[in-house]
Subunit: 220 residues, 2 copies
Amino acid sequence: MHQINVGEDLRDRNREIAAENREMLRKNGVFSVNIMSAPGAGKTSLLVKSIPLLKDRYSIGVIEGDLQTTRDAERVGALGIDVHQIQTGGVCHLDAAMVHSALHQLDLASLDILLIENVGNLVCPAEFDLGVDARVMLLSITEGDDKPKKYPLMFSESRLLILNKIDLIEMVDFDIARARHEATDINPDIEIIELSCRTGSGIEAWTGWIEDLLLESGAG
Amino acid sequence: MHQINVGEDLRDRNREIAAENREMLRKNGVFSVNIMSAPGAGKTSLLVKSIPLLKDRYSIGVIEGDLQTTRDAERVGALGIDVHQIQTGGVCHLDAAMVHSALHQLDLASLDILLIENVGNLVCPAEFDLGVDARVMLLSITEGDDKPKKYPLMFSESRLLILNKIDLIEMVDFDIARARHEATDINPDIEIIELSCRTGSGIEAWTGWIEDLLLESGAG
């Protein structure tokens, strides 16, 4: 569980398998995203709200990481797309090897986009490259605007920060300007999208972001 | 970071140090609580709201666990009580050895109550006994009512479940009956308190719970 117990061997091995994953995805023209957040920030809701806007034009696969249950996979599978479940059995993050096994069970040649939902955890998932094109993190505004400096690795490793539950902005003490400032202080290149999975506001900014990167990557 | 990488040696060592912590606290008549939750569920706010209700009658010490910053310790220290900061340097939970070092720096003989705020993480902290009298977990209702079955170890290890941000109940899709049912399904003995750190509603139920256990334990 300790960062300090993750030996260099384990890190090296993860890096090797991540490179293999990256190559498999590239060869098959799949654009891939690793979605990370604290528990309950809305990763599954984001998938459920955005996949219907994309699935008529793109072939989408999902890998669902969970400690124990298959609940998220069932919610996403109800959209009629290909979902592969990884139950980590208590392990607090996905690693490249878990994703590698899943990649062998998906029909990659038929996919344009692969969305990976990581285990709900703002710490450990940031340390494990899965071999994807982009890492994305969700921060629910109910979690507080002090999170970037408290969990800096997650912010520095992410290409996009999604501020979710923006419909609750009047109900919570969250200073968007402060959060934006602290996030870009840690990662000057991070892009930021505000949205609400509940109301649907801002979802198109997220699906547009995926489409832009998909085109840019030459995948699809 | 893996559960499967925490060897039995590490577990045994943690158990030994936790037993030492328990003995130190018992000898000094200190009632102790380990407060755990996902990031942003309100652990620090709970301390900030409840300590003023207790500190005139009891001598209170706080240990603040954080990955990087001293922000939480500063917020709690502003209440004029003894706060010891543990910066884990990226480690995703507190362990018994970290707490042991802190115990040696606190004036235990003068304390009645020791409150330990763990790192924001719903997975790993549940695996490390710190040697305290009671483990408490906070679940913000904004995180969703599906959390007990998804993060069962945290619920099975906790004596008390606090449902926080209850003032937002009309704004989020959270079924209190479902959450209570699933939590007690995992841990039939778990007690449950609903409160809002923002409005202050229900805070006395939490401070009363501490006082009842303090008297019961014979500490103080």
